[in-house]
Point group: D4
Chain length 146, copies 8
């Protein structure tokens, strides 16, 4: 079963690479995609269309340019993996989860046990919760097999 | 213009009451609704259906019961107000924002300026950003006026 | 919060009445609806349009007339309660659950613990599982409260 | 005409193989897919994400992982074949039928005549009812020709 | 159960009145609606917006004005009754049936047995076929009863 | 037939009042609604949420606040009347027409004959074209009559 | 521009072949599809699943099997050509037109001028009306050209 | 990331070619499409189906034929670029923008700063505003990069 998997959330650890390599080592029929995960080019995406003086509008412009990409990828994907790291708010990850839920697009959350309580609404709409990238790999292997 | 407004997010300050009272003082034709904002009964909503030993499943059960209410209210509303406070993660607020965005349901965010950067994706899909409950009241007054 | 609740499934015990009376005793703002629960008139619904000799077509005609009602009620409802009794196949209850799931309409299953395993797919898409009508009443009371 | 066919339901006889081989013998342009039909790995799908002590939650976790696959396949397919065997409840098959009906996805039921009455609601929303795998093969041949 | 019923098709006999009076005599909770059934004002609906010299464009203009009404009513209704009389082509009735089918809106056809064969595709997507207005009344009575 | 009619476009002449009064004189069952048609408060709608220095962002903020209203009203209405005056670009009117077309919401254009050619795409997706407010009144009278 | 074109309606003349050959002679990037146009195998499609004694149910069964094909093809196509011949009722063609209209799928009608009046509702929802297969070919050539 | 980009609006300058060549020079994985941009063949598209005497109907017929193409392309595309030039009304461009907005299809507007005010509603629903074709190229390069 061919799958298109969207990797959403935290950009400070190598969880994306671990999942992609893990799936490659099993030779699974999966295409992965992501938002731009480079912090600087992501924050400055809107500068292409002219510099902004106020930080709100600079963020706004960049976020809307990035949204063209994320919106398109989420709508195309079969499954999203939504990662919450130990630091930072990662409201965009929760936003993506809500977006998936409203579209009836299944997603798997990936986070440590100590944030289970504040993430309960996000986990409640998920199809699965994983604590390690390898669990995600094994789940995708299970889903994509045959 | 009659409006149905859903108030999502932070439950530790009285921002909901300020908005509701402000709109009442203008005699606006607005019906407000919310998730259960009582922390304890919200966390224990699933206990009605039997106690759970593990905190993950207790949270899961309660969150899914609460989701029946929030999902129904979001789908019924015309506008959502999404509030991010100074403390706590409030991933559920970001989740609600993503849910609204995917349904093309307009929402207004309500938060201080110092969290503009981490909320840029959530604000980018919003129709407006307010910093005080009174700004929300004035915006609703503007929208609901004949 | 006003709720429209569809009661689906088993017709041989008084679980519908228990739920309706329980909610009335709490004076909840809930409208209940159901398929025709009278076995004989339900099976002969199609006879209005002419008798059939073959049982397959008699069943087919009646089921399609009844589907006009159930389809309309499911699409109108906010929540469905899906009841599986101890006897009979009750495939129509599972069919209604699948119909709700595809429409993103939340439902609560109501069944004994001993059929948890064969109902796992139906429960997995549910927002809650109750074992007694009173648990359903308490859950609806929680949801419908202001 | 290329068709994508989802095979849902009973896993204890070889009806899937009969349909697939029958269609291959006619060289039809059909891609078949299914849920995981291996009983043990299906029941333990959730164990990948950590063991559960309570059977309800073990079933729940596994069923939600499996639902990622079935939901995706049903939404991708052109036609579903829904099989009800002589034993077991097979509520998941009826659930899939309801899911297809709500999505306006055509399905063909496959079952013996003696369960026509309890399956009348499921058959009423079907586009056809077959009693043998070979009838399904001939119907698919008819549909996929030219 | 309150129902909104759209009456589509033939305008040369009093079948609409028979159904409406029959339902009134049972005091059913049903609202009926129809396209404009007056032949002359229907054909000249577009003349309000200026006369046309060519009959194709006169028909086109009138039909589009009338479509505002029929489209709105079909989308609002719960059930459509689609009537095919003995004379005339009544392609608009078949068009309405197709429109309902694509929207998953249930409809009942009303026609004599001698045109069963040419109407087989229209009947196949219907939830019921009646041969007399009184059968429609009895079916609506059955559906609308508490 | 009760109708909800959205009046979109030009704000410099009294076409809205002519239509509303004309319909009132016929005592039609029609509710009318509009965007804010007061030029100054419309342009400054975003100022409620804080002043902007750059005209682009001021316009942007105001337009998004106004869009909450127009989007909600268009989605609620049964018919839109889209008015193009003799002056100004009125791209918002054409935008509303495209929005209606994509939602399959019928609309009637109201403009003089001399701009038929540049409006051909907008008129092609309309259900009718009127040149005077009184033609709109007569068309609405025709549509809303029992 | 690659196009998928569905050819619906009359099966007694060679209009399908004329259109297909005409487009082939221009080497257009168009894939054509149709319902089964062989009258006998179409009428007996349901016999695969067992013979029926009553003509209504035989027609019903066959029409539902054929609907699996037509429904799938209409939902896949970019444009439908709906042909009304000089004889026969062709209610299925009008049904397909209504189905397309409700899905916002553009279609071109193909019929002689003498039936413009009874087809006015079907033509009103069409994007074009042609009187000869060659006009359809030229229109498709225009649309499919780079 | 492969993208399908629809280029809408002004046909009197070479902005389309600039964007296409710019993207080709970066070797981006983008497919571009457009309405027919040849003024004369576009205006006469309906003549294929017979000449019209009145300019309104000639325009109407041509616009509806062209709409088959534009509607299909907009629904297929991932992103639209909506161009407003210095001359002409270009209501069709604003119509396309509204159509995209209603479908939640992201679009980028391309126009000079001096028309920011009349385009504020169109820009408010856009994901970005560019003033030069090269800014569009750079934005597409950013979006389409791995």
């Amino acid at each position: 079963m061919e799958l298109n998997v969207y990797l959403s959330g935290e950009i400070h650890t190598d969880w994306r690479e671990q999942i992609i390599k893990g799936c490659q080592s099993y030779d699974l029929n999966i295409v992965f995609c992501s938002a731009n995960t480079d912090h600087d080019t992501s924050d400055s995406a809107g500068d292409i269309l002219g510099a902004e003086q106020q930080s709100f509008w600079r963020d706004h412009k960049s976020a809307k340019v990035n949204a063209i990409r994320t919106k398109t990828l989420i709508e195309r994907c079969d499954i999203a993996i939504i990662r919450f790291g130990d630091k930072y708010k990662q409201w965009n990850a929760a936003f993506d989860a809500g977006y998936c839920a409203a579209l009836s697009k299944p997603y798997i959350t990936l986070h440590r046990e100590d944030i289970v309580h504040p993430l309960k609404e996000v986990d409640a709409a998920a199809h699965a919760w994983a604590t390690t990238p390898m669990q995600v790999v094994e789940t995708l292997k299970y889903l994509a097999s045959k």
